[in-house]
Amino acid sequence: MSVVVTGLGATTPLGGDVASTWDGLLAARSGVRRLDEEWAADLPVRIAARVAVEPTEVLDRVEARTLDRSQQFALVAAREAWADAGFAARSAGDAGVDPERLAVVVASGIGGVLTLLAQYDVLRERGARRVSPHTVPMLMPNGPAATVGLALTARAGVHTPVSACASGAEAIALALDLLRAGRAEVVVAGGTEAAIASLPIAGFAAMRALSTREDQPDAASRPYDKARDGFVLGEGAAVLVLETREHAHRRGARIYAELAGAGISADAHHVAAPQPTGAGAARALALAMRDAGLQSSDVVHVNAHATSTPLGDVAEAKALRTALGDAANTIPVTATKSCTGHLLGAAGALEAAVTVLSLHHGVVPPTRNLDDPDDEIGLDVVRFEPRALAPGGAALSNSFGFGGHNVTLAVKAV
């Protein structure tokens, strides 16, 4: 059973769609800005990567008003991916897809935290009777998946894996399982996150996980650089249309790449700190390669998790050396978060989409802000300019999350 990628959609700090996001990555643009809003004034960190295009500019007003921001992002990205896959109508039946063979897997790391916070304010200031009846459907973590499932009339199942910053990648791994198990023929899979608000920022800042480089927002996210000091919170969504190769062939769909395998492991080491040796991540990498039938010599590119934290980036580099051996020294690696910031539950999905595009276009976007590479990393990290890839081969995309979650996706060129 072969599973292929036939559609891509995204709304990110670099652009309101896949094309503008990809252009931004190739140009190594930064989506990180200062937060000048009043609510951010007293926060220890006042930088973040907001989406480039507000979803309310794209969605119908009435449609958008009962959706959490994370649901709005997911809907924008899912509609783009659906159309990109060549489906002319918005609902499955009208587009020639059996709704009972269409599933949705859309992850979120935190869920509808903006709704939770806003409605808690309503509760305190105006009382329980003024809390919106849409509160629960807007804050539940499966809300974005439900939104997409409703929009596309997906009836084979709607799912939401939650594994912090690995959620988006885990969604794609679950989609692969669904297709292989025959529970669906098409799966719309991805991740979304909208958590740029005082409480999440304060919480991440309290963990000392965030960069505090406020004087230079566009230089704050700097994976692998000696001067990295934490990640930058981002927001957005990315969605992929996955289907069995047979289904894609039957309808004559354009195929970007094959989703050839996935590897999932858990550290059981610490709730937030990475295993210093990267052993858990190395197992996810090895499992993904085995699942996809890949040798180290088949791997032509790695899209790293690389959030720009001092410990995490080193642990991942060790994991890559463990899993890939000497090949890890020469495989071109990139860190998408250097441009986009960290989209948490959407990051793995966005980076899977970027990995697919890297193979499809034969070019790896550069890592921004890598001025002075950390000697402990020892990888061939692409910087300054995009790097061309020879046709063929396979690429790996890593995602790790608080809780010790490790997910690696393996993508093959077609």
């Binding site: 119908d60 007003r61 009435v62 009962t66 003024r130 919106s132 009846p133 849409h134 459907p137």
Partner: protein, 82 residues
């Protein structure tokens, strides 16, 4: 407040919440069957109407407000009582 004023105010609320064109919101229309207002949006409409017209619409009364005319009459009477 006249029935016309209540209807106009209610129509604005229904338009804002459910996106129904103001001109379609007439006394004979059923919220669910004609205007496609779901139960959650109906709660929102009731809350907004309470704020705008200074009345209270308990849940046991809300379930009986099937048409726009039902709601307008209810608000009219509740307003007089208040």
């Amino acid at each position: 407040m006249s029935q016309q004023e209540i209807l106009a105010g209610l129509a604005q609320i229904v338009n804002e919440i459910a996106g129904v064109p103001v001109g379609d919101i007439t006394l004979d229309k059923n919220f669910v069957d004609d205007l496609d207002v779901d139960s959650l949006s109906m709660v929102e409409i009731a809350t907004a109407a309470e704020d705008q017209f200074g009345v209270r619409i308990p849940d046991e009364d809300l379930k009986d407000l099937k048409t726009v005319g039902d709601a307008v009459s209810y608000i009219e009477k509740a307003g007089v009582a208040a």
